[in-house]
């Protein structure tokens, strides 16, 4: 054991070093872009219409592009260079201008050509003196922030001329960058001065660590500033996604994207993939579940309504003879019938078929329909969520066993991958199924809902069939016949999922679904009786 560890450790160190070298190269890239990146064709900003058409094959799919950190940096550098060349601004100033215009280069160029002075001022670059920022001691200076007036105090001012002592300036910037996470729009400390801090002044004032943090934050604003960009919400994933779907289209399309890290999420709302349900419906559903589901479940399980006045009653012990506190109606908790029909000494209910009891139960049913309806959908929604987790556990266990099997039965790694794809398919399909129930909850019944429910049923059956396979004992799993069966079922699941998603996406795009709630305006409409 010892010798093995010793043998392993140098290798892992080597790997680390290689990794570091790589990233080091990447970081130094932006400095020498003049030579390297200049001949490259225009950065592909916004996918061209042609690309869109080519990639768009299905109604439920959107075209998108994954951007890695180096892509994000390069795009910014390219734009800064362009502006730097065209407008004769320094790169720092070009960066500030671009950020001010939220990286809309065309608008920046246009506006700048029209009224350069006004644009410069608006972006916080007013005043034309081009002297380099520097620290200096000013005789008779009193810092307006800390009231220090020591002789020879080092002070700093940006081009706006608002001068403060270096300590205060430094502390102000540290606070802004470290505590408030600001970067692109840090203004001069003076009240009402819109002058924005440039990176050269920053370098002069703060520690390199803070400068690094500042640059990291700046990198983020680039993605956050552009409507067509979004960060991958997976923890620690540094990638961003570019996608052209606009906010106003979110009632017609559900833009699911997939990052290089494997995370599938909605570009519209950054929630995990929720096809076929549109974002707004998802938002409502999640809120409803957070607000209601626990309470509703509890009410449904532990209470009944008084057959006479419909007050909700919890039975917290004692016998079945209930007297409603509100209306003093006496009834039997078991059959909901009138207590007087039970006789005086009959504390055991076996009168379920009595007329008064049946009526009371009917009324109860009606009054609970809406709650039950919600719970119907919620339970199925929650069930698929739970099942997806269980499927994953089983798949992981199976995979482990398959590794063992590999050694005993001589199956190669590639031969056991069908289990992986089966498990993947299960996860994706359950995710879809889960959201079909939220979708169905808000759906008003039309001819289209029948097709939808059929599709839902087909997918559900396919999924359950495949899920069942994972429960087979491990020695059966390696049977070639079963393997073919699993592969068939996997591809059937995927097919059913696409069929369902296509159907819903097409109808969504054509606004053919009728929802029982006005999703866009947030008000609930009356349901047409079906």
């Amino acid at each position: 054991m010892d010798s093995e560890e010793e043998y392993m450790s140098p290798i892992s160190t080597d790997d680390d070093e290689i990794m570091q070298d790589d990233s080091g190269d990447e970081l130094s890239g932006p400095d020498d872009f003049d030579e390297d990146d200049f001949d490259e064709p225009d950065p592909d900003f916004g996918l061209s219409a042609k690309d869109m058409d080519k990639k768009k094959t299905a109604a439920h799919a959107v075209s998108f592009k994954v951007l890695e950190p180096s892509d994000i940096r390069r795009q910014q550098d390219d734009m800064m260079n362009d502006v730097n060349l065209i407008l004769d601004l320094t790169k720092e100033d070009a960066a500030i201008m671009l950020r001010y215009f939220r990286w809309n280069k065309e608008r920046l160029l246009e506006d700048y050509m029209d009224r350069p002075e006004k644009v410069l001022e608006a972006a916080g670059l007013n005043s034309s003196s081009s002297s380099q920022p520097k620290l200096q001691a000013v005789p008779g200076f009193v810092c307006d922030i800390c009231c220090e007036d020591e002789e020879g105090l080092q002070t700093f001012a940006m081009k706006c001329g608002h001068r403060y002592c270096v300590n205060c300036y430094r502390q102000y910037l540290t606070q802004k960058i470290q505590d408030e996470g600001e970067s692109a729009r840090i203004q001069c400390p003076s009240d009402g001065c819109g002058r924005i801090l440039d990176s050269r002044s920053l370098d002069l004032l703060v520690t390199p660590e803070l400068t690094d943090r500042y640059n990291e934050l700046l990198n983020r604003t680039y993605v956050e500033d552009k409507d067509t960009f979004k960060w991958c919400p997976a923890p620690d994933c540094p990638n961003a996604i570019e996608c052209g779907v606009k906010k106003k289209d979110l009632d017609k399309i559900v833009p699911t994207v997939e990052c290089l890290c494997g995370n599938r999420f909605c570009f519209g709302c950054a929630n995990p993939d929720h096809q076929p349900a549109p974002c707004d419906l998802v938002k409502r559903w999640l809120k409803k579940c957070a607000d209601d589901s626990e309470t509703a479940n509890w009410i449904s399980a532990h209470t009944k309504e008084c057959p006479k006045c419909s007050s909700t009653i919890e039975k917290n012990g004692g016998c079945n003879h209930m007297t409603c506190r509100k209306c003093k109606y006496e009834f039997c908790w078991m059959c909901m019938g009138l207590w007087s029909e039970h006789g005086t000494s009959w504390y055991n209910c076996n009168r379920y078929e009595e007329k008064s009891g049946a009526e009371a139960r009917d009324a109860q049913t009606r009054s609970r329909t809406s709650l039950e309806r919600y719970l119907h959908y919620y339970n199925r929604y929650a069930n698929h969520e739970q099942s997806a987790k269980l499927d994953k556990d089983i798949a992981q266990k199976t995979e482990k066993k398959m590794v063992q099997l590999q050694t005993t039965s001589g199956m190669s790694w590639i031969e056991v991958q069908y289990l992986n794809s089966a498990s993947q398919a299960l996860q994706t399909c359950r995710q879809t199924l889960k959201w079909t129930y939220a979708f169905a909850f808000y759906l008003a019944k039309t001819n289209l809902t029948e097709i939808f429910e059929d599709n839902q049923k087909d997918l559900e059956m396919a999924v359950e069939n495949l899920s069942e396979m994972f429960e087979k004992p491990i020695n059966e799993l390696s049977d070639p016949k079963l393997k073919v069966d699993i592969m068939d079922k996997t591809s059937y699941c995927n097919k059913r999922r696409i069929i369902l998603l296509e159907d819903t996406a097409e109808n969504l795009a054509k606004a053919k679904w009728t929802f029982n709630a006005d999703l866009m305006n947030g008000s609930t409409l009356l349901l047409n009786k079906h």
Partner: protein, 156 residues
């Protein structure tokens, strides 16, 4: 160093007040401490909502003052009610961008804040609390400056 900055700055503000006084309607009630001050303010016009009352403001200066804004709230006392205002919660918390990190500038001072709040009262004509006041007062346990207010209303 940070603490030194606060004490020095607060002391300087105090000296200035002693020397030049405060604008009309603003009065320093307690300012011997360099950490916590109390002001009394009243409106100067005859705004029917406020003209009969005096209101008490509490300032708490953190060690990062004046890089960070001070914490400013209205104190609720028998003779010193919390003024009715659509941006002032009934527990005395004030929703004002100047008092958040975004709107704050280290060049501002206790005096300038008092003046801003005074004019915030003067220009108001709505006899109401912010929407959701009851809920906010019931559940809020955060320090005022940690609350993420959305400063959307530029009219008051």
């Amino acid at each position: 160093m940070a603490t030194g900055m606060r004490t020095k700055r607060v002391a300087k503000e105090r000296q200035k007040i002693d020397k030049f006084g405060l604008p009309p309607g603003i009065e320093l009630v307690e300012g011997n401490d360099l950490k916590e001050w109390l002001f009394d303010i009243r409106v100067l016009d005859n705004n029917p909502l406020y003209n009969d009352n005096v209101y008490r403001l509490k300032f708490v200066f953190s060690d990062s003052y004046p890089i960070e804004p001070p914490e400013v709230t209205f104190v609720d006392k028998p003779a010193r009610p919390v003024p009715m205002h659509p941006h002032i919660y009934s527990n005395g918390i004030i929703c004002l961008d100047l008092l958040g990190n975004q709107g704050w500038s280290p060049v501002q001072s206790a005096e300038s804040i008092c003046m801003s709040i005074q004019s915030m009262l003067t220009s108001n004509s709505k006899n109401e609390r912010p929407p959701g006041d009851e809920e906010f007062v019931r559940v809020n346990r955060q320090r005022p400056r940690d609350i993420e207010f959305l400063y959307h209303d530029n009219t008051v």
